[in-house]
Amino acid sequence: MDKTLQVINGLEKDGIIGKYAIGGAIGAMFYSEPAATYDLDIFCFLPQTGLLIDLGPLYKALADKGYYPNEEEQIVIEGIPVQFLVPSPGLAEEALEQAVDRSAFGVPTRVFTYEHLLAIMAETGRGKDIGRISQCLESRKPDEGRLKDILTRHNLLGKWSKINS
């Protein structure tokens, strides 16, 4: 995984992607027990033309290094399928802006805060997200004040209460 993160750090350093952070199940794994997943979700800012996001420069830069998209539009970088995602305005964008510095396998990286990850799971609200929320909460308590603040500002308090009732 160190090599994968080094490649992603290189993309950021070269300006191919803007600020990035790890989200999704791997992001949650920085805080809670591991759960089965197969892809590494990288949220990043990308050059944008109007409403359209141009993935061309990113795909070209990776292809130049020998990494290509698979059938699920993930790019396998050093053995790990990586999904590059542009954060939607609101919660995910805030999560990326407030992501925290971490180190994995000796490589510096950034990860969404635990409370942002939980809020995103509630917002997305798929079956696997709801299951993952309870798994996370059983293995680690979030900062209640911080979580409540995020949920309130993004109108997710009701959804959160319903999921955890």
């Binding site: 995984m1 994968t4 794994m29 920085f30 805080y31 809670s32 027990e33 591991p34 759960a35 089965a36 997943t37 197969y38 050093e78 053995g79 790990i80 971490r102 994995a104 396998f105 798994q135 059983e138 293995s139 680690r140």
Partner: protein
């Protein structure tokens, strides 16, 4: 010598919770090693059942023992 070991359900749940907290507190590198084990197990079970299986991550992991 008796082989009975009586525990309550609450004791079992408490032990399970403690195990989950310990798993959460483990270094990230150890968690990735466990994740790859999970992926391999999932893949083997899927193959045995004839279900489509996702490929486990093809990475080398060195977890330092402290």
């Amino acid at each position: 010598m008796s082989t009975q070991r009586l525990v309550s359900r609450q004791d079992l749940f408490r032990a399970k919770e403690a195990g989950r907290r310990a798993a959460a507190a483990a270094p990230f590198e150890e968690k990735v090693a466990k994740l790859v084990q999970l992926q391999r197990m999932n893949s083997e079970l899927a193959q045995q059942d004839g279900r489509p299986a996702k490929k486990p991550w093809n990475i080398q992991i060195q977890v330092s023992s402290k």
